[in-house]
């Protein structure tokens, strides 16, 4: 009973799940936000909440209606993306924490922050994405930058609207991976923030900000 049962799972299943998750969560977060907005609207109507300040777009609307529509549309889309990204990150955190715990079975705790980061770069990356991080940089003040030149979840992403659109859409897909890294670090005791950035498509960098070691 000391060693856990080995369970096997299909490799590509992770990729399929990620695709489905993004679509499902997009719908679910839109729904949750619509619900929240409805409640807000009801409270405004009942006079409980002050009416929201008119956005700058609305001021201009008699002059230039198309601009305001576009800005309102992008604001709404960004809102929805935020909700989607938060949910993906939360799921990733849970997954990352538990994977880290499982991978560290029998290993002693890490006495150095750098050791934990190296564990993430090597063992966690190899377990989740079959390779190791290509480049690790740090400013020795709690900021680490992990660079992967061909990050597995986005390596096969493409969009018929062109590279830039693909890069924009890929940002959502890496949120879960950022969550995995963040969760793993938090389970090892390092609580911080992980920000993923995509500049050219298969290349992805994760910036980890940890509180300054005392």
């Amino acid at each position: 009973m000391a060693d856990a049962q080995m369970r096997y799972m299909d490799g590509p299943a992770f990729d399929f799940f990620l695709i489905e998750m993004v679509n499902t969560l997009r719908a679910s977060s839109a729904h949750a936000q619509a619900r929240a907005r409805k409640v807000e609207q009801e409270m405004i109507d009942a006079g409980l909440l002050p009416a929201p300040l008119p956005t700058p777009g609305m001021h201009k609307h008699h002059k230039d209606s198309t601009a305001s529509l576009a800005s309102r549309a992008t604001a709404k889309v960004e809102d929805e993306e935020e909700g989607l990204k938060l949910r993906l990150e939360a799921i990733g955190m849970h997954v990352g924490a538990n994977i880290a715990e499982k991978l560290c079975h029998g290993k002693p705790y890490f006495s150095e922050t750098l050791d934990s980061i190296k564990f993430v770069c090597k063992d966690l990356w190899a377990a989740c994405w079959d390779k190791q991080v290509d480049n690790l940089r740090t400013n020795h003040r709690g900021v680490y930058v992990l660079q992967d030149n061909s990050f597995k979840p986005i390596a096969r992403l493409s969009s018929w609207e062109g590279r830039q659109d693909a890069t924009k859409r890929a940002r959502v897909y890496v949120m879960m991976s950022a969550g995995i890294v963040r969760g793993a670090l938090s389970r090892l005791g390092l609580i911080g923030v992980v920000v993923p950035e995509i500049s050219n498509l298969p290349q992805c960098t994760f910036q980890i900000k940890l509180p300054k070691p005392s």
């Binding site: 009973m1 949910r87 538990n98 880290a100 715990e101 079975h105 029998g106 002693p108 705790y109």
Partner: protein
């Protein structure tokens, strides 16, 4: 299976030194000696601290025998997530092998890990909340039933006092 170790109690303590679970077995439970094991777990924390600061370059998760008190020997184990597992074994004349205790510790760690991996445990917690498991843990509650059952199974497998003797075959 012959009883190799007499397991009195096991305690799990989170990385922030909050108690997660203290479970006593067998006769100790019948005699209502639970509180004593809370006290034992608490004093073990100091020994953990000592051992950690004395040996910052840590190489082992199993800390071995921490101390003995009255009639119990207390063993400690610290995991990668800084969760501490404390075992109280009743002192006996038989030599207790380290390997056995390590196995026990690993089994308890695995049970804890499976319990914590349950995503339904803290369904309504904010997504960003740091997981100090002690807080969400109403370990007496329903959600942790499987964890308690797994712990009891592990204890029973050691032939601890809690396992009833097999019925005579006639």
């Amino acid at each position: 299976m012959p009883a190799l170790v007499y397991l009195n109690a096991v305690a799990f303590v989170s990385s922030q030194n909050h108690p997660i679970l203290v479970r006593t077995f067998g006769q100790e439970r019948e005699n209502n000696r639970d509180i004593r094991y809370h006290y034992i777990a608490h004093t073990s924390l100091d020994v953990f601290e000592e051992r950690i600061t004395a040996n910052p370059k840590n190489t082992e998760s199993y800390l071995g025998l921490l101390y003995t008190m009255d009639d119990v020997a207390v063993y400690g184990y610290i995991t990668a997530s800084k969760t501490k597992i404390i075992l109280a074994l009743s002192l006996s004349d038989t030599v207790v092998k380290d390997a056995e205790v390590v196995n026990l510790m690993k089994a308890f760690h695995t049970a804890y890990r499976s319990a914590v991996a349950n995503p339904f445990l803290r369904l309504h917690a904010p997504a960003d909340a740091v997981s100090d498991h002690a807080n969400s843990l109403q370990v007496g509650g329903a959600k942790w039933k499987n964890f308690r059952r797994a712990i009891d199974d592990i204890a029973a497998s050691t032939g601890a006092i809690s396992a009833p003797p097999p019925p005579p075959k006639n």
